[in-house]
Amino acid sequence: MRALLPGLALCLALALPASGPAQPVADPTPLQFQDAAEETRFHALTSELRCVQCQNQSLADSNAQIAQDMRREVLALMRQGRSDAQIKQFLVDRYGEFVLYRPAVHGQTWLLWFGPGLVLLLGAGVLWHVVRRRAAAVPETDTPEPPEQDW
């Protein structure tokens, strides 16, 4: 009896009018692949593309309407024989570089791609300098430290 009341509330809450919220025309049938290689390539490619309508989801993961259409288009382009680069360019021409999760490498992303390397180089330089300075304080001898003081 206890379970009835919440159950009833649930049913009432979920009772939708016959017309219901409208949906755009969509075909949710999963895409069919010709072979495993095509499927792998498709997954890899769509993982590198961004859903243009979502808050940070890849084209592979998104369920948004436009994402489904874009996936179909990507598969169609793949079957037309276009390369990954050409497919990416196709989408960039229409949506801009926003659609690439792997940012293009050019003047405006130079800092992004090479910044970390520069930080590493700079840090390595500092490190080398520090090690040299500290090494000067320790004369080179042949006797290593006894193991007990080793930890």
């Binding site: 979920l14 940070n56 993961d61 926003f98 690439l100 940012p103 090494a135 320790v138 430290e145």
Partner: protein, 640 residues
């Protein structure tokens, strides 16, 4: 009535925090003991007040008081009891109260466990933590009051986000905060040391266990979040390099560097300046992460809904705290005594390299996360930075680190002979390479990633075990610190197996199936047996049944679901997973296709559990290290 009491408690807590900040710091500066003595009781009082406020908010959720705006926004009459508890931290205001409570917990713990430290040190440390608490409580009370009333009271609440109605999400924020916020302890110590003008190895011996425990909790929090995303977000990913994930990963990276740097400073007196800087950086990144998630600066499905006025408040606070810390560091760090020197081939150098790589990785993550915002600010257009960027660069930075891990424990302090250590480790390197090659030949589908995962894991694992074996053979025992190190590094090895192998060898397929039809993937066969409607406490579920067969024999009966929640109509995909040591079988429902047919999606994820097992080992390593006896030795002097 009670919510008003809650507000009062918050105001009192703010007052106490302000006193805890001002008086002891002034007292330490002027050397006046009565002022310094305020610190401990203030810390304890703050904990009691905040615990009370938190309890009141919890009570409001449990009894479903929809006259409290926050409760009305995050709860619902149909919400199951267990989630009423976790709904307390389900959104911005409540999670901020949790943040403040966790800070009060850490502060009280420091207050209670610091009898062996000089009073001035304790006063400064608690004072700095009081400053942080004051800022957060002010933010809470003035912009994000969880006890704000909604009059007239709502008839029905808006419900807790269905994504959060999940066991994993109950523990994820508290663990994360225990970690994040716990970095306030080494931070406060660093500031105290800079204010005092010197860094005493004894103080470091005191701080190390706290830092290790905080880092362990952060590891657990991140791992739990990753595991939750895996089973809840429907498509089996375990890390997305999402801005909010990155916000928690950056303090983790710097925290890892910090625990290593602290070890060197405690034992050798070296790297004092680096240790202090890392301590400031770790907590600064925690604050930055807290800011990023709540300010609306970044676009992410994870982020709390926020408004610009809140963002400005935290930003100003952040700027003041970090700016003042860095200024203090710039002025005082140069005065620290450098420790003993060391030769290029020594454990010190290796740990410097370790910290450089971790810090560079953190810088990379920060750059990638903020770059879209930077591009927008500089009018360079809308650019996306996603997993292909982060994954590649992180991998490149971690390769040298993983290569060097086994050397660290074996190399001596100050100077050692490279040839000696190489001779010890070379056979294991050979074994690792051979195993990698064998993996490649045995399962070429995995490619080089799979081979590399096996080789790297064996390298790190064997190198670490070699150290353990040598110790046991030579002195018959390992300290807990050494065991902690071994566990942590073994955790890296286990994690490498999981991360690289699942990426290299995971397979998936999505097919339209009618009841009775099956799909094949790998050596598995998935028979779809239809979907039936089942009501849940606050949702209606389409519950599918999929029979999983391997080599003709039934392995499992899985029940993926699609849940429509009553409150907002949101539809959640609940995947069904058959966990396994060597891999998961993962089944999810897609969309209904009419006439009983459904899109069914299956994944095979080899070794995916090893990812979180590795993280668990790392966290365990941190906790075990913290328990070492060296940290429990009473320090001899009481005077500063």
């Amino acid at each position: 009535m009670l919510p008003e009491l809650g507000q009062l408690l918050l105001l009192l807590a703010l007052t106490v925090a302000a006193l805890q900040a001002l008086l002891p710091l002034a007292g330490a500066h002027a050397g006046r003991a009565p002022l310094m003595a305020v610190a401990r009781p203030a810390a304890l009082a703050q904990l009691l007040l905040l615990a009370g406020a938190f309890a009141i908010l919890t009570w409001a959720f449990v009894v479903q008081d929809f006259s409290v705006r926050y409760v009305a926004a995050n709860s619902n009459s149909l919400l199951p009891m267990i989630y009423r508890y976790s709904a307390v931290w389900g959104s911005h205001e409540g999670s901020l109260l949790l943040w403040a409570l966790v800070l009060a917990l850490w502060t009280a713990a420091v207050a209670l466990c610091s009898r062996s430290l000089p009073q001035a040190v304790v006063a400064r440390v608690l004072g700095v933590m009081g400053v942080v608490a004051t800022g957060f409580l002010a933010f809470l009370i003035f912009t994000s009051n969880p006890f704000e009333r909604l009059l007239p009271a709502a008839v029905e609440g808006r419900d807790l986000n269905p994504l959060l109605q999940d066991p994993g999400l109950i523990f994820h924020p508290p663990l994360l905060y225990l970690g994040y916020v716990g970095f306030a302890v080494p931070f406060a110590f660093a500031i105290a040391a800079l204010l005092d003008g010197r860094l005493d190895a004894r103080w470091l011996r005191w701080t190390r266990p706290w830092t290790n425990v905080a880092w362990a909790f952060l590891t657990l929090g991140i791992a739990l979040g990753s595991w939750w995303a895996y089973y809840e977000l429907g498509w089996g990913g375990w890390w997305f390099w999402d801005p909010v994930e990155n916000a928690s990963f950056m303090p983790w990276l710097v925290g890892a560097a910090l625990i290593h740097s602290q070890a060197v400073t405690e034992k050798r007196g070296s790297f004092g300046g680096w240790t202090l800087l890392l301590a400031i950086a770790a907590f600064s990144l925690s604050l930055l992460g807290t800011f990023l998630v709540r300010s609306g600066v970044l676009t992410s499905v994870h982020a709390f809904a926020a408004d610009p006025s809140r963002g400005v408040f935290i930003l100003v606070f952040l700027g003041l705290v970090i700016g003042a810390s860095l200024l203090l560091y710039a002025l005082r760090a140069g005065r620290l005594q450098p420790g003993a020197g060391f030769r290029p081939v020594s454990r010190e150098t290796l740990l410097l390299v370790n910290n450089l790589l971790l810090a560079s990785a953190c810088a990379m993550v920060l750059l990638g996360t903020l770059y879209p915002l930077l591009a927008d600010a500089l009018d360079l257009g809308k650019i996306s930075v996603g997993p292909p960027y982060f994954g590649l660069l992180f991998f490149l930075l971690m390769v040298p680190l993983v290569a060097l891990v086994p050397f660290g424990p074996l190399l001596r302090w100050q100077r050692d002979q490279a040839s000696a250590v190489l001779a010890v480790l070379l056979p294991w390197l050979g074994l690792a390479v051979a195993a990698g090659a064998a993996a490649w030949l045995a399962a070429p589908a995995g490619g080089w990633k799979s081979a590399l995962g096996v080789a790297a894991a064996l390298w790190v694992g064997a190198g670490t075990l070699r150290f353990v074996w040598a110790r046991l053979r030579n002195s018959g025992r390992l300290t807990l610190e050494m065991w902690g190190m071994a566990l942590g590094h073994l955790g890296i090895a286990v994690f490498l197996v999981g991360a690289l192998l699942v990426e290299a060898r995971n397979v998936q397929r999505e097919v339209a199936l009618k009841p009775g039809q099956a799909l094949e993937l790998g050596e598995y066969r998935f028979v779809f047996q239809g979907v039936e409607e089942r009501p849940g406490p606050n949702y209606l579920s389409d519950r599918g049944q999929v029979q999983v067969l391997r080599k003709g024999r039934e392995l499992a009966l899985l029940h993926p679901e699609k849940r429509a929640y009553a409150s907002g109509g949101q539809v959640m995909t609940e995947a069904a997973i058959r966990p396994g040591l060597l891999g998961d079988v993962y089944v999810a429902l897609g969309e209904p296709l009419g006439e009983g047919a459904w899109a069914v999606r299956v994944h095979l994820k080899p070794f995916v559990r090893w990812i979180w097992a590795g993280a668990l080992l790392m966290a365990l390593g941190g906790l075990v290290t913290a328990a070492d006896r060296r940290f429990r030795r009473r320090t001899e002097e009481k005077t500063a």
